[in-house]
């Protein structure tokens, strides 16, 4: 097993998929010769040629629209949107087309494509290189939304997404691209979609999180030990379809829950977790669910470290629910 960064694991996942299946194509803005602005597609064009890894015009609507057509016609497109902030011209294609095609055609036509895109803050990217738009997409029946947080999961979830018969939005936490490293198996393996991962065992409080908020939550959990709180950290990994039963089991087991995400709070993914617990596990709860999130403001540049939840904010929430 090699030790890779999350970015290298994604590159390895793409290469593995392309080696295993000649119908897998990778395309987007600057993904060819340059290998992507973050180098996620580095050397793929060199290995597989410009017919399988290529640059497109600068048009997110065109990239996703064409990907849908390729998927309808038997290929396995893996399209890159350079930053999740730029995905909105393709919103119509993702939400009204890819996600609804199977349903509206009674299964006659399907669009099994993957859209990879770096999301989230932490790189001083300001309003338009930092957003976390997962909630917009999680409101879309027919779409799958996946967010890895470790190199192992990044590759395994990506391979599972490429193999999946439905359209998948694969959100890559850009803050973790080069900041996390881990062991990644060689060759092909899959991490099943719609499964949770217990990133840390604990019995007092459960912290639900995903993407770049997983290491933040783990750090907060370590620091909680000092005040005698034993924190469990659960990495959701797939937001849609969510493993609801898994969430409820963890919530019931500790009776105290914190949800962490960097997206704004109002109608954010934490609201769904909180409502789920309120509807189905309230009798087990010892404290109200507390959300630690980005603010209900656009994403700032200079002060992003105040905007993004850090381990201190998570720790504060853990202590609040533990001592309620």
């Amino acid at each position: 097993m090699a030790t890779l960064t999350l970015l290298q694991a994604i590159n390895d996942g793409l290469r593995t998929a392309m080696r295993d299946d000649p119908s897998v194509l990778v395309f987007g803005e600057d993904v060819g010769k340059k290998g992507g602005v973050f180098l996620a597609t580095e050397n793929l064009q060199k290995e597989f040629g410009a017919k399988r890894c290529f640059d497109t015009p600068l048009s997110e609507d065109g990239i996703v629209g064409a990907a849908i057509g390729m998927a309808m016609n038997g290929l396995k497109p893996v399209a890159e949107i350079q930053f999740q902030d730029f995905i909105f011209p393709a919103f119509d294609q993702i939400v009204s087309e890819a996600a609804k095609l199977r349903y509206r055609s009674g299964g006659q036509y399907t669009a099994p494509l993957v859209i990879r895109t770096p999301y989230g803050g932490g790189i001083r990217g300001g309003l338009y290189h930092s957003q976390s738009g997962e909630a917009y997409f999680c409101h879309t029946p027919g779409l799958k939304v996946v967010v890895p947080s470790t190199p192992h999961d990044a590759k395994g979830l990506l391979l599972a997404s490429i193999a999946d018969p439905d359209p998948v939005l694969f959100l890559e936490p850009k803050a973790l691209y080069r900041s996390v490293k881990g062991e990644v198996p060689e060759g092909s393996y899959r991490v099943e979609l719609s499964t949770l991962r217990e990133a840390r065992a604990g019995k007092d409080v459960t912290v639900f999180c995903y993407g770049a908020m997983v290491p933040v939550s783990l750090k907060a959990a370590e620091e909680s030990l000092a005040s005698g709180i034993d924190v469990r950290v659960v990495d959701l990994r797939t937001l849609l379809p969510l493993d609801e039963e898994g969430v409820l089991e963890h919530a019931r087991s500790t009776g105290r829950v914190v949800v962490v995400h960097e997206a704004p709070r109002f109608c954010g993914f934490g609201a769904e977790i909180s409502a789920l617990i309120a509807e189905h596990a309230i009798e087990y709860m010892e404290a109200p669910v507390v959300r630690v999130t980005g603010f209900d403001t656009p994403f700032p540049n200079t002060l992003e470290h105040h905007y993004l939840p850090d381990h201190r904010r998570v720790l504060d929430a853990i202590e609040r629910v533990a001592h309620f």
């Binding site: 015009p57 065109g62 996703v64 629209g65 064409a66 057509g69 309808m72």
Partner: protein, 372 residues
């Protein structure tokens, strides 16, 4: 290179100045029959809608030659990405009127399982007539993707993407034509310029000199054709299809035509279309024009035309009556086909809906189970 004068083949008297369409007699009559089917389908759907037996329809009167002429240039292995005003393409290729009527009634035998409004057809046989989407222009880049996939595999498939004059203002028109131009995709873009985007005339849609010229900026040749002249539409579409099949890249065709009805059954065009436009185009009705050609060629006489019209009208009326007898789709069809496999949360919602229907006494046989 863009043409500006609409190509015409059939003159007012039915003459073609010696033009040989290189179509066998049976094919010419098949085109005629398909146009009659469109008009009969339209007329019956209008009556069904006015009687409250279906909710909605889209009139095609006046556009038949564009639809049928363009469809006649395609092989069964080609793909059609239709707009919602393209009935004729499906009928030409042999989709049974009954299959279309199942959609108009949204019944249990509708291929789309009653999930879409009427007219939003989806067929894979006998030709790929791709599921219609209501938002304008979204299918254009998808058509390019299908074509690109075929080309990468070395297949000679051609994709026809059809849209209206209003559709040229959409994001998908720009991205689709731009991608097709860069990739030299085997796509034929058919702009049915009927003069009106619901109530907005073309001069409120674009300041350019027509629509064919829009291809130039994408490196795509544009061709203008008289959309009410079946042979002319077939001629330019066939040339574009053959060019695409041979690797020559995409073409943008502007078919100048006119819808003699409203945008839909919910629309009254008399509120915005000047009466003289109807009078002008009434004289250019594509069906009598093609009839004159067939008569001049000795392939049709008045008696045969009447008989054929009666036959297709009866066929469609029978289809409508049969489709009306079929019940609505089962309750489970709300929940299936969202994903390839039914996720737990949707299963749970379905079971709750079945349970509620059973308790209210609204459940029908088959409700309450997922056959999945």
């Amino acid at each position: 290179m863009t043409t500006t004068e609409p190509l015409q083949v059939i003159q007012a008297d039915g003459g073609v100045n010696g033009y040989d369409p290189q179509m066998p007699e049976s094919e010419l009559l098949h085109c005629y029959r398909a146009m009659l089917q469109v008009r009969a389908f339209d007329a019956i759907c209008l009556k069904l809608q006015r009687a409250g037996r279906i909710g909605f329809s889209i009139p095609n009167e006046g556009i038949e030659a564009t639809q049928v002429g363009a469809a006649s240039a395609l092989r069964k292995s080609d793909w059609i990405f239709p707009s919602y005003r393209d009935f004729g393409m499906a009928l030409y290729h042999g989709v049974a009127p009954l299959e279309m009527m199942h959609n108009m009634f949204g019944n249990a035998r509708d291929g789309a399982k009653g999930r879409q409004m009427p007219v939003h057809f989806s067929f894979v046989e006998p030709i790929r007539f791709v599921s219609i989407s209501s938002p304008i222009g979204t299918h254009i880049p998808q058509a390019v993707g299908v074509a690109h996939a075929a080309r990468l595999r070395g297949e000679d498939t051609v994709v026809l993407a059809s849209f209206g004059d209003g559709g040229t203002s959409s994001l998908g028109f720009h991205s689709g034509l731009n991608f097709a131009g860069v990739w030299r995709s085997p796509v034929v873009f058919l702009c049915q310029n009927n003069g009106w985007a619901i109530s907005c005339p073309t001069e409120e849609q674009t300041a350019s000199d027509g629509f064919a010229i829009k291809g130039e900026a994408y490196g795509i040749p544009g061709v203008v054709v008289d959309g009410n002249d079946l042979l002319a539409v077939r001629k330019v579409t066939l040339a574009a299809v053959e060019r695409a099949r041979a690797g020559g890249g995409p073409t943008l065709i502007e078919a100048k035509t006119f819808r003699m009805g409203g945008h839909s059954t919910s629309d009254d065009p008399k509120r915005y279309v000047p009466a003289e436009q109807f009078e002008h185009w009434k004289k250019r009705d594509p069906i009598p024009r093609f009839e004159k050609f067939l008569q001049a060629a000795g392939l049709l006489d008045a008696a045969k035309a009447v008989a054929m019209n009666a036959e297709v009208t009866e066929e469609i009326a029978v289809a409508a009556r049969a489709a009306e007898q079929v019940g609505p789709p089962a309750l489970e069809t709300i929940f299936s086909d969202v994903y390839a496999a039914l996720p737990a949360h949707i299963r749970k919602q379905g079971e709750q809906a079945f349970d509620l229907a059973a308790r209210r006494g609204e459940a029908r046989s088959g409700d309450g189970t997922f056959p999945l």
